[in-house]
Symmetry: C2
Subunit: 146 residues, 2 copies
DNA sequence: GACATACAGTTAGATAAACAACTAACTAAA
DNA sequence: TTTAGTTAGTTGTTTATCTAACTGTATGTC
């Protein structure tokens, strides 16, 4: 016997990630309403750079769980919007280091507040210890398949 | 105080749905390896039709949590691959009822087995009661934001 | 130094998603 | 029965993802 407790009807919903889709849409709407012209995907890249500026594209791939072409194009679009700039590494000319512009730094506080608001709405009525368990399960799933 | 127990570093990962992305990629690879030429998104539509054939596009929207243009194009592609066909409703000529072809019926067993395999891999080492809690939390999140 | 190999990033082509604007068909109310 | 509003589905545009194939740079071995 496996430990798969999902009936088939529930399986689908887990696979397709309806919950995370709902969260992403909610946050995107908050961005739009606030007049912030960035996508959730772009925000997820900026988020990594707010944590540590000057990451390489490869590091952004790992951090955001995206492949190289996706990051290339996300950085392309972020660059067009003047939110980041590519700086060739001095020590290894294959590498681009990605740096935030002043404009992008300004976005941090507002977007993080909106993200927190979305999460609060999402988790309304969920006891903290259950959130922790859910988080742990998702982490294991991620580790199992990575 | 809110019940948001996420530190900022964890927040991002929850929002972006890395776990469900990992699951989807794993299953897509299984499809590819098995020579099944369908996408996860197409499979999610077929899945709904295996449960009940002849749904309208609108019903597929609700069931798969996608908007109308997405379903229009998914059905377009499924139709190109001869996996479904659009049948105009007799009673309301605005409505297309979507029916599976014989070819699509043949896909059910194999793809469901692969999906179950992916879920078993994903949930390896997770106690059943924790899976249930995770599922419940995700359901609440979905309901909160829908 | 010359070569094979690995690595960082880009490009091309297909599918998918979000949003807005649109057409066609149904419904309800004057 | 005309009109207004609603619903089902489509189309156009932009952004994002995936798998291939590609360029350029670095590394390690002979």
């Amino acid at each position: 016997m496996s430990n798969n407790q999902f009936k088939k009807g529930e399986l689908y919903s887990f696979i397709t990630g309806k919950a995370s889709t709902a969260i992403a849409r909610n946050l995107q709407k908050k961005f739009n309403s606030a007049g912030l012209k960035i996508t959730i995907e772009q925000w997820s890249v900026l988020y990594q750079l707010w944590k540590e500026d000057g990451k390489s594209q490869q590091e952004l791939c790992s951090a955001t769980f995206r492949d190289k072409p996706s990051i290339t194009r996300l950085v392309d679009n972020l660059e067009k919007q003047q939110l980041v700039r590519r700086v060739p590494s001095e020590s290894d000319r294959r590498i681009n280091l990605i740096f935030l512009t002043k404009q992008a730094l300004k976005l941090q506080e507002e977007t993080m507040q909106l993200a927190e608001a979305t999460l609060n709405e999402a988790l309304e009525g969920v006891p903290p210890d259950r959130i922790d368990i859910c988080k742990e399960v998702l982490q294991i799933v991620y580790d199992n398949l990575r």
